[in-house]
């Protein structure tokens, strides 16, 4: 489940939008645990969840998720 290659900036975007994990989870239709595990890189989300996150924050998916090229 864990993927060290995938980095994300969900926590940063959440802070910018003043959203808790619970609020974000409700808005995109997943559980709070799913959000927290995506944030810490423990769970790699599907394309659908990644696109829902991007739509919620109004940015392209690449701004939220990126490959950790140093680790790869």
């Amino acid at each position: 489940m864990h993927n060290a290659e995938l980095r994300n900036r969900i926590r940063v975007f959440r802070a910018e939008h003043k959203l808790s994990q619970t609020d974000l989870a409700r808005e995109i239709g997943v559980s709070r645990k799913t959000i927290s595990t995506i944030e810490v890189g423990r769970f790699v989300p599907s394309t659908v969840i990644a696109l829902r996150l991007a739509r919620r924050f109004g940015v392209p998916v690449e701004e939220i998720f990126s490959l950790n090229t140093e680790g790869g």
Partner: protein
């Protein structure tokens, strides 16, 4: 307003998996008691009988409760989505199942290869219950461990 209406469907789905793991753990305990009953004699039999019946009833009760949630608290239109909801907990179930399958496969291979040399006195019933108990126990304990560690992470980031 009912609790399920307040709780988002994704959270209900996670709780459902967690309750299912509890039911599986109870079934593991029930199978352990059944295995013990196959080899134990004397006053312990009575206590093991009670323990076996109690764990079986509790597990069935949880499963019935899960069916009740699915059939009555989830809107008909959302039922398919509810059963296939993507989540970390859902992935944890798959990981726990994989570990459980692997452990059972190794145990059965060892028993099939060396069982007749090492364990000749116990009845077949004992090994069947023991294998089922191990399979269910590895599944539920793996699930609890993977899920618990995430709760710590989530609490810090919430």
């Amino acid at each position: 307003m009912s609790r399920s209406r307040e709780m988002p469907l994704a959270e209900v789905s996670d709780r459902r998996w967690e309750l299912m793991a509890v039911a599986v753990f109870l079934m593991a305990l029930k199978s352990m008691a059944s295995a013990a009953l196959a080899v134990v004699d004397g006053p312990w039999v009575r206590y093991l009988d009670w323990f076996e019946a109690g764990t079986a009833l509790a597990a069935v009760g949880i499963v019935l409760w899960l069916m009740f949630i699915k059939l009555t608290r989830v809107p008909r239109a959302d039922r398919r989505r509810f059963l296939n909801m993507e989540s970390y907990v859902g992935d944890t179930v798959k990981a726990a199942m994989f570990r459980s399958w692997g452990t059972t496969f190794i145990l059965l291979t060892l028993l099939g290869t060396f069982g007749d040399r090492w364990l000749t006195t116990a009845p077949t019933e004992f090994f069947i219950h023991l294998s089922v108990a191990l399979m269910l126990c590895v599944f539920s304990v793996s699930f609890f461990i993977l899920n618990r560690s995430v709760d710590d992470v989530g609490a810090a980031g919430a």
